[in-house]
Symmetry: C3
Subunit: 375 residues, 3 copies
């Protein structure tokens, strides 16, 4: 890869917290973050995935000890100075900012401030709508109380430092969102309240939540991210096709809401199409890059077949382990550079244009989308 290309700073617009030094030698955690498989998935299969030797390579490089197998990992990770190790991984990959979805954090995760110190990157939080809804559920005795609390928290998001919001509707009832009346939402809330569960799963209430929060976010110039496509098996991949967001996108992007499609694989072509015809639609190929090591060049190129370079963003969706952030960054830059060397692109576009497109994707788009609030 071209050295200059490696130097481009990154804003990671979708990621999660890493663990602190108390879990620095948790080797199973490191193995398990290389896949979206749940805990019962066999270790022996995880070791037979293309990404695993890459993990060992990064640990070797940053620990200064050659680690050739899973078994050799623990002592080496125990031995490193975690702060130095993290700082080097994030520095070499040129992470400038991390936008952290606080809706999921690994056990033992330090504060965002501490993560900033460990990584040398500026950290900013993303507000997960379903987490807000569930957090205030416990303390709400009525629907109106619950809904007022949700609106208040979401309405204060920008003021409280959040740079965006996120919905995991794809993990619950799917992306075919639609408007739901206040009365229907109230009835659904009553059923939820009478259940034993604190988990928001009702299709109508999820639709009500996301649909009604959309204008509240638009008013604050806060983009709304959606989990789409691939993830852990808790998601039904048939319901996670971003094309299901058609009504939502056609309703709210004209009102100024920016909609960000996360992950998108294996629907990244569909996502690129959406970005190419709808104003206000953005997307990434996080998660598959890095977890699908050999996919990166192909997937990034496919994602960019139709989309403007002003609508595609780098993200890692990494969490728990610092190594995954570095692998995501390096794979992504290799894939982006490969794409920008496409024979047809090179035939018509100058080096300066392609360099600028790389800057857009790596950081400028994220900065404009999340940090430059329109009045």
């Amino acid at each position: 890869m071209d050295t200059d290309f490696l130097q481009i700073p990154l804003i990671d617009h979708h990621c999660h917290a890493i663990v602190g030094p108390n879990r620095q030698a948790d080797t199973e955690a490191l193995l398990r973050v290389t896949s979206e498989a749940p805990h019962g998935y066999p270790v022996e299969d995880l070791l037979e995935r293309a990404i695993w030797p890459a993990v060992l390579t990064y640990v070797s490089r940053y620990s200064g000890h050659v680690v050739a197998s899973y078994e050799e990992l623990g002592p080496v990770l125990q031995d490193v100075d975690y702060a130095t190790y993290c700082k080097a991984l994030f520095h070499d990959a040129r992470f400038e900012q991390l936008f952290i979805d606080t809706g999921f954090a690994p056990a033992g995760a330090p504060s965002l401030g501490e993560i900033g110190r460990l990584t040398g990157a500026k950290t900013r939080p993303i507000l997960r709508l379903e987490s807000v809804a569930e957090a205030v559920f416990k303390e709400s005795s009525s629907f109106s109380q619950w809904w007022e609390s949700v609106q208040f928290k979401v309405g204060q998001a920008r003021a409280n430092g959040y740079v965006g919001a996120k919905s995991i509707a794809a993990y619950r009832s799917g992306l075919a969102l639609h408007g739901v009346s206040y009365a229907d939402a109230e009835r659904a809330f009553a059923v939820w309240k009478s259940s034993d569960s604190a988990r928001l799963e009702d299709e109508r209430l999820l639709c009500f939540l996301v649909w009604e929060c959309a204008p509240i976010l638009a008013k604050q110039s806060l983009p709304l991210q959606f989990h789409t496509g691939y993830g852990d098996p808790d998601t039904d991949l048939r319901l996670g096709n971003p094309l299901h967001l058609r009504d939502f996108v056609e309703t709210f992007t004209p009102q100024g809401l920016a909609v960000v499609l996360l992950h998108t694989y294996p629907y990244h072509r569909e996502a690129g199409y959406m970005a190419s015809v709808y104003d206000g639609v953005y997307f990434d190929t996080s998660l598959i890059v890095p977890l699908g090591l050999t996919s990166a060049r192909r997937v990034v190129s496919e994602a960019l077949e139709l989309a403007p370079y002003s609508r595609f963003l780098f993200a890692s969706d990494a969490h728990t382990r610092p190594e995954l952030f570095a692998i995501a960054a390096d794979l992504f830059k290799d894939a982006l550079e490969h794409h920008l060397q496409d024979p047809m692109l090179s035939r018509f576009s100058g080096a300066g244009t392609r360099e600028r497109w790389a800057q857009l994707v790596c950081h400028d788009n994220a900065r404009k989308l999340y940090l430059e609030t329109s009045p």
Copy 2:
């Protein structure tokens, strides 16, 4: 690219009219035809798509003036001799014939005869079924009157010079077509008549129209094209998967109807599969080639994984601007040549065979399908 390859003549079996000299300097029109985005889509995003520098390159080459930006475009386009400019673009790309869908034409489009003179290519019209249905709607007071007029116009198509028909059902109620009774169609017509709209949108009536016109077309050896896959956001991409045409294809291809799947992206593999198992199914990758500049090699290769070379056709789906036709042609030929140099193909197939396959795809298939009528 091999020089001989560039010389292969093209029949463009699906395209639209170009504008006349009165709009030769309409630079926003040129920018907007590089994408399927509707009018509200930001100019700044259109400028950040891979195809845009290719457009500037073609204008520079054929105007004789280096055009480095959108702003510089207007005066240069104003200055060219439009007839010479068009003729050169179409001649160099070896357009021999243009089959023009007259159901959509840009404002200021000249006659087919005039387009023939501007481009140096023979032009032939394609009849859009929904346009016929809507045109005779205004003058029909009853369902029977309407349906007789539709049947008459469609039944006279070949005699009136049309070489094929087209349906845009995918843009209305989707491709899951099925038979509808006369009585049900009559009821749907009454609802339409009592509405304020001249636009045919009722699912039953659309199905009735296409289903009942199919044998009328088959009798005239007129192929029926379908918009499938990607297009402007008026189409719900979930309903445009050509696999939804299964019942239609299984009903009418045994009756001699040729079904042509247009565009097909991102369902081009599904379309290639259909061409490989159903007699009478043809397809193309128009629209994505050229609009997805960097997609061409990959998409054409994927489309041809299963399909016979006797079932795949070149088309541009270009309209409004002559530059887009030339870009479509050159990208397509590059992609086709790239595919034909596939290591497995080269290992087993001689140069002569591969050359013949290129001829089939570029013109022979279209000639046989549209112009050689069986008795």
Copy 3:
């Protein structure tokens, strides 16, 4: 291709019988097995597919006579010593074992023992559930009698030498399997019994069959294969997406059932995702490799984007003609080698690791999955 790579032995975990010497010169059979098209599909289109010149090349190589066209094929095939011809084809491609789905066999197919002698490979049978259900249907006067016979035959499968089972539910009512009550199945059986057909087509009864056989197979450590994705047009490709198996997989793999997704194209990415998150899910890219000659490198690479190398298997799905087995094997090895030379893979994984992954995919996974029964 690397010579050592060509030497890796193959277990073909999904294929069918070949014809005996009595059909050795059936050239139309050879042409027709190059595609999934039904019999009415035109010969002239089959001759224009990329695989056809490969077939001629293999016949030429193993007959010792240059065969340049379809017409020249018959006399040459008539002239070969069929036993020697078969043995050489299977030997050079290093077929060690063939797991044969006995639910479909071409006319004139010899016994599995005879196929073993012709090919030099060990043959083992796979039990097709729908064939069992239809075979005992004729002799069953009541639902309970039918269901007891089915259970008995399936329960004796391992003892009778079967190494796995297979379902073609995708060809009937689709893969969205669900549990069905005994009473509902009994009612469906009555309707079937009162019909004229011996073909099991009722959605409820198919679901009942597969759902209730699953634990019987799990108890014997017999994997259950599913036809998924592409096949002849009898299958509705919309219903053959392996994602529809979600409930089935989540119900039975925790009970120890291994689920094997056959073919998977064009849903091979979805299949790879499933293998990466569900314990007990395996898959292949048979059928498209070899029938989609130019697809092999791309499809195998896409299939392996997420999947562990311990879950992906070689298969040909070949039948009738020995030439197809050899083409499948050679194409697959070329594609697998190409994948293992991916720049990112090479950067992080040593040659030894990649060689071991090739061994897993070519034979070790199949041996462990089908032949090593847990107690």
